[in-house]
Subunit: 244 residues, 8 copies
């Protein structure tokens, strides 16, 4: 589908793309308070995802209804169980994942990947973020291997699971406190690693900023980082990679 941008001598060919062409056919549903992007899947490979925080249950229901006109799976993240109660009444086919704080309306068959994503956490308190990542990844058709609570304070726990981690096509590493796990895992594998700092910790953890800084400065190569507590974002990128 994509043209090869290099000519036969290995140089970039001149190009004359235009915004109009690039965005042609992109549409949205205008709800007043929201303009639901109906071309996200065509453009980005995945349909729009509803970020539940800061939206009322009524607004979320409105967006779900606008999206139902397409045959796409509808994922809503950062959703409290309270709001879900209200939403459930309007969309009875929605399923809630409590630890992950996500709701999913499954409306399209998604083929599962052969390769898998390993989701690794340093501690027990990081599990909610890991589950947000896992639910997202599975909604996008990825096999997921969960490897939880293998922080470096007891590093033999990590070595005992290293084969699972090394077998993945892409690894998500989730840690709060000082976030050192990402560097250690990064030094032991030959696959892309997406690091997720969590706000788990106290004092100079600074609500996850310390873990974030650790991961950005890792002495191991091959590590990229997402925002604090952003399990969804890590899974989204990992899914893109796992589907390559």
């Amino acid at each position: 589908m994509k043209r090869d941008p290099f000519n036969e001598t290995g140089c970039l060919k001149p190009e004359h793309g235009e915004a109009g062409q690039a965005l042609q056919g992109n549409t949205f549903a205008d709800l007043g308070f929201a303009k639901v992007d109906l071309s996200r899947e065509q453009r980005n490979g995945y349909p729009e995802v509803i970020y539940g925080e800061g939206k009322t249950a009524e607004q979320i229901i409105g967006i779900i209804q606008a999206m139902r006109k397409q045959t796409v799976n509808i994922l809503c993240t950062r959703l409290s169980s309270d709001k879900f109660e209200t939403i459930k009444k309007a969309t009875p086919d929605a399923v809630y994942y409590k630890t992950a704080r996500c709701a999913l309306v499954n409306r399209a068959e998604v083929k599962q990947t052969q390769s898998y994503i390993a989701i690794v956490t340093a501690g027990t308190s990081d599990v909610p973020i890991a589950e947000e990542a896992a639910v997202t990844a599975e909604a996008y058709g990825n096999r997921v291997a969960r490897v939880y609570d293998v922080g470096v304070a007891g590093i033999h726990r990590l070595f005992a699971r290293l084969d699972v981690i090394r077998g993945a096509k892409v690894v998500i590493c989730i840690a709060g406190m000082e976030g050192a796990l990402a560097s250690v895992v990064g030094g032991l594998i030959d696959k892309p690693l997406i690091a997720v700092p969590t706000s788990v910790g106290y004092g100079t953890n600074l609500k996850g900023v310390t873990a974030l800084l650790t991961m950005l400065n890792s002495c191991a190569s091959g590590i990229t980082v997402v925002n604090i507590d952003n399990g969804f974002g890590a899974a989204y990128s990992a899914s893109m990679i796992n589907h390559l």
Copy 2:
């Protein structure tokens, strides 16, 4: 080589890996001031890379000589032209890339990928970081498409090159100042995007922290981030993805 960690019912199989096995055969050369990791390629897929800043020319020469015992390409980043003059005398086969501030000793044939990495910059001042990424990616056998100076202040320049960017297997997006380009590109493609904030800017740019924060908080999904000015790290991860 990797065993599938799932059993026939889709659950993780029990495992009994050990650190010893995991690290068996890993070796290093002890130079006193440095312990050169000779198993990096076996473990991570790429040989150790020399970070030139904070090392003397003599130390770098010592490390290069230790690495020469293996048939690997030797890359040295963040290397001033002054230091390279000294190093050149000891290793005449080294080549220097001035804008990228990298040296390369090519000792092993690397097969070039069919797919390519697009390296996109917002401005002209981001080019040195882009070239560090490009030289690194090419040293690892990747085809690279350079798309420079397409920042959002003149967004038609980006649309004119969008086909090249969309054709890549993975995109590196490099921007200083407010770093908004990453969000815009991320919203237009369906491939993983690695964002590199640069220290280009002044005042509240805070030496790149602003661009970093922008990229971490992007409203577009599928974006992961590396440290400020870390062109090498972005290319390293992109190469891992491009070779999948």
Copy 3:
């Protein structure tokens, strides 16, 4: 009314203004806990506005009563619905705008402008700040065009509304998260743009500081910035410009 400060050769003429003259006739009502500025309209073009946060309902009622002695419209921002219940009893002609969290006592006819202010938001969660701006602008007699939820993750939504935005005399652009929308809009219009960062986001959004930094460092020119969540301030400045 204002003298031209330049003489016939284009140089500034010498001047001998005095504080006394500058402030002559300025008065205030002293309530003990507050000194209500009764000359704000004469000096600044608009009457004093009551900032509701940190004041009790009783204090606000007192200030409204002091202002009633003049024929000016009375605007109170950052007002909870709880406090308004109490205030409503004392000033039954007050109207409450729930999303905007503002109350207005309309006591003077305001002529509406021909030109209009465009208020643009990146997302749905930015709407409360946008409504604070809209209510303020309309109270000051401006026509307002609301363009909500056109963030760069789905940039075709912005292009679909670009004509409305370009038609305004001044544009207010409101965004949380990474705030990239301001740069993109700024690059597409030839009118002054006032950017409002919002505290919408999480993690390294840092309660709006990230969006603020993005807007201050924009690569597009013609952008000025107000405090985080300061919809009122943006509308106040925009109204000054729209009335020129």
Copy 4:
């Protein structure tokens, strides 16, 4: 030219704008290291401005030559006198403003405004930023009234010049240290005020961050803010307003 986006009942009319149309006819010159935006004036009202910092003299000369194909004035900011020496040889019609650190190639007649911009500084050390603003504003055809060194430590100096300030159509207020001047001026005028924090100061001035924070939190309304030391940006916005 712009259509009125409101229909006869005062509501926004439906619209079907497209990116292609919005960006139609926008062009650029591709120099490899830079893509010079040749449609900036058509889109934004002003031609592209060259930010001199971080560009070599050779790169600047290249951009100037690309721009010469249009009949526009060429402004280059943040330009050291060293670089200008080199540039001067290639473009002998360029003029250098030393205190402002700007160069200007005057190639198009610009009509001067009747109304004027007042540029006010708190101290003597803020003058270089003020001159960057003044040169920019004058290059765009604005009359400028300079009111320097009227900081609040000797507030009678400000009152002595208040008539000049009040007579302007828009005011630029430039201050370092604690930046209090912006609040005082803002409370005395009825015109838009653009505040420019400068990096003048020491200790907890934090290179201008303190003045920036002061200006963003001003108790006076009608103040918007630009980046630290961004005299150019303030003048660009002020010119847009002054030309309304």
Copy 5:
């Protein structure tokens, strides 16, 4: 009492003070959880003051009882009305100042000063901190002149009260938001000014840090600063000065 440390030629005389002598006779009451300093008045001129936050009502009662053995006035700051209810039962002679959130047990006659302290606030929301200062200052025998809500947005209010402020022996200036009032007052008086930043504001006010930075960087001389919201500390220092 104090010896003059200079000899007849104006040089410092040699001295042989010892810690033992310096602290001789200093005593305390050991309550286990607290060691009540019974020599504070002898050493510092004022008895120990109880900081109510983070202490239980029972602990405060214990400390009051230990202090009752001396004939000193007992001041307790940062005390919630809830805790005071409990304390009142054990010490019925305690008086509560609601706005100031202070309790006072008057047990010693304090002579009132002839000179007075002016306490000046920028806004209405700063009054609680001002009252903490006023109650403290009055408990220490100072006459106090309250000048509230004279912020620079309506600077004529300040000029109308300037004579009161200039007549004081020492001035306390209390402001939140951008804190510019301190600089303006400082530039108009010839007496020491103690500035108190308050946490009043939002967004980049950063809970008072902005006002603090403003005050530390004031272009006016003669200003010293205390911690955010520290009305007590300002009054304590002002009282020392007022009693000189």
Copy 6:
């Protein structure tokens, strides 16, 4: 001269001051780049002081000449010895204090105080700031007692000089690193203490911010603080107090 603002019942009398009256007779010399405040002494008790940093030698000479028209002493702080060489030629009666980096032109007799200011430093590296304070204080006619290098690591040195410190009318305490000395001295004296944080230290000293924070949060009462390295400001306030 100052009227007592309280009436016979102890309440504030109504007042009708005006800005004009307040600033009447205030004058300045307009040099273009500077407006020299010629009424500073009348208004603040001390003539304007020249802050040497960020001004050229020529500008400083101009300001000195404007001030010479009055019979006041002229103090210039933050002055490099290089600039002084040039200034010396134009104003041969200027004296340079090398450690303090100040110049003084003595043109008016100043009566020396009987009471004295104690200037206390924690270490040897704090001496330049201490000397800036001492030269300033002496220029304003204060006797000064220097007590240097008595930091808490060897607290017996402090106790040995405690009598000198206690004998002062006001104490300036200067410390870098962690700044603990201010708290210890503050707990031992009954006089106002002005604390000056210095930028002496490394790592998390953060160029003096740590010492500043320490001083603002002191558990000892009676301490007020000035900006980092602001020896001049501390001496200015101390002189005001010492002259009461």
Copy 7:
């Protein structure tokens, strides 16, 4: 047990340790949400400690039951009394320390040390952190001397207890606000001092960051620091030292 790594000439002997050997025999109990480290005591000298915050009562009970299979004492820190109520039912032999917010299940005899740890606090509000340290230290068999509320504002209280502090083998010094106590104690003793900053304070205390910075920059030597409010960590390290 440990081999002396130096050979007879005082140089390090070559070594061939392996991860396998280093971690041989290390085991854990896999509970799914947690992997309880059963080799912590063998590796680190102390069994794993349960950090109660962010874990449910059910999770804590599960971990306690897994640990019961070993004969070790089980310590749980940061445990609310609410959660303890639930845990108490499942493990009736658990004891709760209210001020310290710790629970302890005593299952192994611990021999008490002859030497002791002194735990020193600056104020009464620091006592909860001090008790967390004391309970931890005593659980590990250390004698503890509590010296509370001896902050530098009344330094004679510290001198009165100095003999107890000097008699300890290691000192823990706990302080909030400005944290100056650590420097003073550090300058008076010849034993290791572990400093614990607490979040006690307000305004620029920044939730303990100020005390932390003070302690890291202490002018006294021999001081090391742990995280804010980390009484457990200080006691853990102190116990290691006290048992040497």
Copy 8:
């Protein structure tokens, strides 16, 4: 020498120490710019150490001469080779350690410990800080085992040296970048670990703040931390522990 502060029932005995007694016999040499503490060894176990930064060579010579009157070894840290050249002439028995940037005047026999301190670094660039620690530790009579460049990117290098590290009585762990090494080592040993963050790194390393935060938040217990680049401080504390 120290009395046991516990009585026969295990409670603290009442005590009546006094500052005089505590500091009795403490002396210093007053050089004007410095008060050399001659009782540091008696009070703290080690003589005063000269911090070379911010002192002139002349001042350092003066302090050395004052210290020569005692029979103690004189250590000067943070000393440039330039200054040492001057010092060498005045004190020919001084020895300079180039990498460590320390000078030592050996005047007293120091007995060497049997146990040793392990000094571990993550990278080659951390070696200067490690050598400052090593020279300090050796000057105080400690055996030192250097284990350099064993960062977690190649963790087998650490395991290969784990026996040396485990054999030490106390471990100093030095790392820049993300500082993860401290957590890994801390999880593998049963001895106190003192962590030293270094300023090695770039971008969000923030001159060592990232490594510092990592170490303060370590998930491994038994770790205490010193200031950034403070090799001396770590060695001082480690020596105290090693000598117990």
